[in-house]
């Protein structure tokens, strides 16, 4: 056992109080310091925090950014989501491979650079993009990728890859990133500036019950996509038995095509933190956790500073705003590359230092959440709405938007449009108007709500963005007339297979089977009976899967079968000779041909 590894691991574990529930921080630190979490390191961690080694392995093997085998000093993770592909990530990938002399999943012989793919990193409006360790590089091209590798070879410092900073706080000393906000339209709720503490002071002048009443009167619903009434969630949490309560902020924005939380975190961290603090007051909690996706690690120091500043101003910490006995503080919990952790119970598992498996419900987090204590989990944007409701009043908020969906929604728009970026729009806006805003009048299809949402055809562009029609956590992906929608569907399915936690059968196996049949159709071997097969399989997954990921994972197939059925029908055919077209006789005889060294005389 190497002495230095032992010392490193011991030190890391000790810094985390040898606390098993801090496993995410421990394994992330070990990975960062030692290049991987090796078997030896797992043994050591298990010893230090008094758990079984296989429990550590269970966590490490779950998260995409953690590894049991050594990686290069620099890891390049090229985003391979569908929008990046549309914007030319294939050329970037080819350039990276040639320049590095390795394939994806490999490390250069000198152990310097590892090349990987990663799903959506929240940069679709500036695609193709990649992560180089924690740095984000955007607007890539083949040439840019080549020169990036050359300069990396010289200095091995990802920070030096950032040439010109992006707009707004992307140029802040603690961010220094080339990421752009691309705020195309600000609204009055989320992206407007807030006088520091204004909402919080109003809240503290009321009783917690009154704060909850205001949030209910505003009819605020969760902005992550599911749309659960926030006030009700808070009330359940407040009324649940227990002494310790938690406020969790879901900043694990992983739905492909969504990047609005990244912009809110960059430009309006105070509005978010204030909202969390108000939640703490309302539900009776002294501890908040901001769960930040690993892809946004470049924002971490900046956010830490925002928290620190508020502590100094008495807006966080003890006796907040002079209110005796109201103590509340927030810590940042980093994720490690797992879409499923955006599901609230998975997020809780992750904060507890476990695999990001969703939990069985009931009990719901409001009753038994983090460490079995009453917990409210809300989206970044939801907390921002809370701040504004407390600043301007529930009536002001409720008169915006549509009847069932008051307020505004921040959309992340990308794909085949002239003005990709972030738009704060009132709920109830027609999709056609959204498309006009972003310059996508010739759209042939729009995916609203990310892969788990709905593929909308031009005939339905009159539909509206709201909870009762097209619900979305913010993702709007536009596809022009030249795009092959079934290939988009394939991409989405591959994403769900990659990101499934594997806990329940329908999601773990069903999506693999959906993809198998879709590939058959795309290969020209599909039969008309494959369409009802896909529908039934999709329905089984939708009904029987355990969590939101599984229940929505067949949506790409199901919604396109409904709105774009002709795209499937044009590819499937009844076999004229009565043989199943899905059966490839050539492939089946392949091995025999090799062994006998001759062609089949029959086929």
């Amino acid at each position: 056992m190497s002495k230095s590894l032992e010392a490193d691991v011991k030190k890391i574990c000790k810094a985390c109080g040898n606390d098993r529930t801090r496993m995410m921080d421990i394994v992330r630190s070990v990975q960062e310091q030692c290049g991987c979490v090796s078997g030896e390191a797992m043994d050591l961690i298990a010893r230090e925090v008094s758990c079984h080694r296989v429990e550590v392995e269970s966590v490490v093997s779950f998260y995409a950014f953690l590894s049991t085998r050594p990686k290069g000093k620099v890891v390049i993770r090229l985003c391979d989501d569908v929008i990046d592909e549309m914007k030319g990530s294939d050329q970037v990938a080819a350039a990276l491979k040639t320049e590095l002399g390795i394939d994806f999943g490999e490390t250069t012989a000198d152990g310097a650079i590892t090349l990987e793919h990663t799903p959506c990193i929240g940069m679709c409006d500036q695609a193709p993009a990649a992560m180089v360790n924690d740095e984000v590089v955007t607007y890539l091209s083949g040439d840019a990728a080549r020169s990036m590798v050359r300069s990396l070879r010289e200095h091995m410092d990802p920070k030096k890859l950032v040439g010109r900073f992006g707009d707004g706080n992307n140029g802040h000393d603690l961010v220094r990133s080339m990421v752009h906000n691309n705020i195309r339209q600000s609204g009055e709720v989320v992206l407007a500036p807030l006088a520091e503490g204004a909402a919080l002071k109003n809240a503290l002048a009321m009783s917690p019950a009154e704060v909850i009443r205001d949030v209910k009167t505003a009819r605020l619903r969760g902005r992550g996509g599911a749309g659960f009434p926030t006030g009700m969630k808070w009330e359940f949490t407040r009324n649940a038995p227990g002494t310790q309560r938690y406020v969790l902020c879901n900043a694990d924005e992983g739905e492909p095509g969504t990047f609005k939380d990244r912009v809110i975190l960059t430009e309006r961290p105070d509005v978010l933190i204030e909202g969390m603090t108000i939640a703490g007051y309302a539900i009776g909690s002294d501890t908040g956790v901001l769960y930040l996706r690993a892809e946004y690690a470049y924002l971490r120091s900046f956010l830490e500073q925002a928290l620190h500043d508020r502590r100094n101003k008495g807006l966080l910490g003890k006796d907040i705003c002079g209110k005796k006995g109201f103590n509340f503080d927030i810590r940042i919990q980093m994720g490690a590359g797992a879409y499923i952790c955006g599901e609230e119970t998975s997020l809780i598992s992750s904060v507890e230092g476990l695999r990001g498996d969703p939990k069985n419900r009931p009990p719901f987090p409001a009753q038994k959440g983090l460490h079995q204590c009453p917990t409210t989990v809300n989206n970044v944007e939801t907390f921002c709405c809370v701040s504004r409701i407390l600043e301007k009043g529930p009536g002001w908020f409720a008169q915006m938007g549509s009847k069932g969906s008051p307020g505004t929604k921040v959309l992340s728009i990308s794909g085949d449009c002239h003005r990709p970026g972030v738009y704060e729009v009132p709920f109830g806006i027609k999709l056609s108007d959204v498309l006009k805003l972003c310059g996508a009048e010739d759209a042939a299809a729009v995916q609203v709500g990310g892969p788990s949402g709905t593929m909308v055809s031009p005939a339905e562009f009159g539909r509206t963005i709201c909870y009762d029609d097209l619900a979305t956590g913010g993702s709007v992906m536009v596809f022009g007339p030249k795009r092959n929608l079934l290939k988009v569907v394939r991409k989405f399915l591959e994403f769900f297979i990659e990101e499934s936690c594997g806990y329940c059968t329908p999601c773990r196996v069903g999506n693999v089977l959906l993809l198998e049949r879709l590939n058959r159709i795309l290969d020209g071997r599909g039969e008309p009976s494959d369409l009802p097969y896909l529908e039934r399989l999709g329905q089984t997954i939708k009904t029987a899967a355990r969590c939101g990921l599984g229940q929505t994972s067949p949506n790409p197939v199901l919604t396109t079968l409904k709105s774009f059925r002709s795209a499937y029908e044009s590819l499937v055919k009844e076999a004229p000779d009565g043989l199943q077209p899905s059966f490839d006789i050539g492939a089946a005889l392949g091995d025999a041909k090799t062994i006998t060294g001759r062609e089949s005389v029959h086929f």
């Binding site: 594997g502 773990r508 039934r536 029987a544």
Partner: protein, 237 residues
């Protein structure tokens, strides 16, 4: 005295105690809800989804869903039977199940479920995964080809044996059961007397040298379908 809860399963009135799951109440009432990952005495897992029922029109796992007064549970409906059949077939194609020479044949719950559902061959294509076998332990072996990821061994070892020999690693289709050692089962403290060895519903964890001690024809499900014990216990009452 705690109050009694009443609700219906397929129209039949069932009574239950607060805190019971729908599955527990159904068992007591002699109504069989098919299941695979559930095992009496272990914490419910809710992973296989074979026990999916409709509760007031919403799909729920009967093994984890608590009873509540007045709920309307559907169990034996065409729709649910179709879903369960799909799930069982998924489990067959996901692994490599060689019933014809598996020593668990006749005692295997997955096989027994397939018989009960009348599944002769799955409608899905076999995925033929490459899975690891671990025969390092002197008395026990693991054949992951037959593993259905039900987590019984994980729960039994952790909660009953107090050992934590097994745990899930990886995610999605790569998810598998790992052992608490660098690689080999031989390096764990697993004993043949452990609950974890006994609870495997399929032939993934087996004791060595006892494989065919009970001949085919005299095995658990050779004459009566799985679930009939639950149904019969009620009819005797």
């Amino acid at each position: 005295m705690s109050e009694t809860i009443t609700f219906t399963i397929d129209g039949k009135e069932v009574s239950a105690q607060p805190g019971q799951t729908i599955m527990q109440a159904a068992d007591a009432a002699g109504i069989y809800i098919p299941r695979l990952c559930a095992f009496e005495g272990l914490v419910p897992h809710g992973s296989c989804r074979v026990c999916t029922v409709m509760v007031n029109g919403r799909a729920q796992a009967a093994c984890t869903q608590p009873v509540a007064d007045g709920i309307v549970v559907e169990n034996d409906t065409e729709k649910l039977l179709a879903i369960r059949r799909d799930i069982i077939e998924m489990l067959f194609v996901e692994g490599n199940h060689y019933c014809m020479f598996c020593e668990k044949s006749g005692n295997c719950e997955l096989q027994a479920l397939a018989y009960r559902f009348g599944i002769a061959a799955p409608k899905y294509p076999y995925l033929f995964p490459k899975r690891e076998i671990d025969a390092t332990h002197p008395d026990i072996f693991i054949d992951r080809n037959r593993c259905v990821l039900c987590g019984r061994c994980v729960r039994a070892s952790r909660d009953v044996d107090g050992k934590g020999v097994f745990e899930f690693v990886g995610r999605g289709p790569q998810k598998r059961v790992a052992v608490n050692a660098e690689a080999n089962l031989a390096d764990t403290d697993l004993k043949t007397s452990d609950k974890a060895v006994e609870v495997c519903p399929v032939g993934a964890i087996l004791r060595k040298r006892v494989g065919y001690a009970v001949p085919v024809g005299r095995r658990r499900y050779d004459h009566k379908p799985i679930g009939s014990d639950i149904e019969q216990a009620a009819s005797k009452k």
